[in-house]
Subunit: 275 residues, 2 copies
């Protein structure tokens, strides 16, 4: 049987990938979870019909969420990842020697379970002694934290299902409170081709709270439009003013110190969303 | 009827777009030409089953082919576009006041004809008095030109069908001969996710001929992987050394002077293809 998985990324456009095998399919307490093996991208985690990560292109998203804020901070010790149950962001966080503790708060334990089983190169570092894994509501975890973290990364699904309140003004207020006095946060904020209004709104919300607000992009071929945005809010440190000697070498496949700065040079129509 | 156009960008992966209407379909002397209207992208030109351009995202490709070399050259007067029968690159070229003449050499007159009819905002400037349109073989046109052009842009299809020899070493030798002593050329060179070997080979070929060889990228959502590369060969001028006062303002939706430089900051796995 010739089996293809199609994600409608908009009502009228999508991607389609040939499927070798369905490893697991389950309606969890929070969302529809599918772990499939595709010919082009290897194993692929799909939540509510949307591609979350694949073996072949996962490095882009995970590196760009983690390294941009971690190099912007001069000495990140305690890091929080909200969502990110596949473990990819945690893996990148642990490449930074200054990090003493990385906390993961994922609402859906099944995402962790099946990522460990079918995406071991992504999720493998969740068992590192520096990592604390909590299966809990990220919104509530943030609300109950105070001046605790150097860097917070929001690795959520798109703003449907369990992630809706992770795109709210109240959540960003909570993040500001949960960060230390010179803390930094970054959130994935979808794509400018189909979700321009969302990017605009999040940017304005974050700008009202954080002295330094910046948008940057990365190419993720299995995400809608291939052009993904990340919104950063920082209490003090500016990602555009990182000194060259801050970039102690780590192994990457996408991120470079040149790209750290270049990622903030936005296409005109994206820049317009921040003005 | 619920009609969807699917382009298999690789054997096992593709994009799919809902079709409102088929305007025109024809096997020309050179390729299969389809002009369709899609819900998401507006009118779309498809050659041999591959998306060439769409009303919604065409500006990215056309701006990034044209403005990067034209701002790199201090005073471009005579410009050649090989391929590009839809007219989008010509439209962008004409935004530069220094340009006195822009020659388009497109092998397939039908592409010009149907672009004028169904993509008037892209092809409209083909009737500008500064433009000379030749329906001819780009390879032969280059072979017969000597020290004629300041800038040459190769806006070809992917290296199948009529465009195969536009990716050959002999073609780049011809381009070097067709350019003036400080001339610059740029060619679209596909994507690094599925065509890494092609990019590597073209880069090496160009590097053997031109003192300055550079690779840059742009996000084009309807092209495979969304991450497109362009290879530039220059006899003298370096795109990374353009002075700020060279950027006389033009109206764009993607290109900015910041992005001019940032586009050359490559993801690590793409940078590796140039080494």
């Amino acid at each position: 049987m010739d089996l293809w998985f199609t994600e409608k990324q908009t009502k009228h456009f999508g991607i389609t990938a040939k499927v070798k095998k369905t490893h697991h399919t389950e309606q969890t307490a929070f969302q529809q979870l599918d772990m499939i093996e595709t010919e082009e991208w290897g194993n692929m985690l799909v939540l509510d019909g949307m591609v979350m990560t694949t073996q072949k292109d996962e490095f882009v998203y995970h590196e760009m969420v983690a390294h941009v804020p971690l190099y912007t901070h001069p000495n990140p010790k305690h890091v929080l990842v909200v969502g990110g149950g596949d473990g990819g962001v945690i893996r990148e966080v642990l490449k930074h020697k200054s990090v003493e503790k990385a906390t993961l708060v994922e609402i859906d334990g099944k995402v962790i379970e099946y990522s460990k089983q079918y995406l071991p190169k992504i999720a493998g570092d969740l068992d590192d002694p520096r990592v604390e894994v909590k299966v809990d509501d990220g919104f509530m975890h943030i609300a109950n934290s105070e001046e605790e973290y150097d860097v917070i990364m929001v690795d959520s699904t798109e703003p449907v299902g369990p992630a809706v309140n992770l795109f709210s003004r109240g959540f960003y207020d909570g993040i500001a409170k949960a960060l230390k006095a010179d803390g930094i946060f970054v959130a994935q904020t979808d794509n400018p081709w189909f979700k321009a209004d969302l990017i605009k709104q999040v940017y304005q919300d974050v700008k009202e709270i954080f002295p330094v607000t910046r948008l940057y992009t990365a190419n993720i071929p299995t995400y809608p439009s291939g052009l993904w945005t990340f919104t950063m809010g920082s209490k003090e440190h500016d990602p555009l003013k990182v000194k060259q000697d801050r970039f102690d070498p780590i192994e990457t496949k996408y991120y470079t110190s040149d790209l750290h700065f270049a990622a903030f040079a936005l296409p005109k129509f994206v820049k317009d969303l921040t003005e």
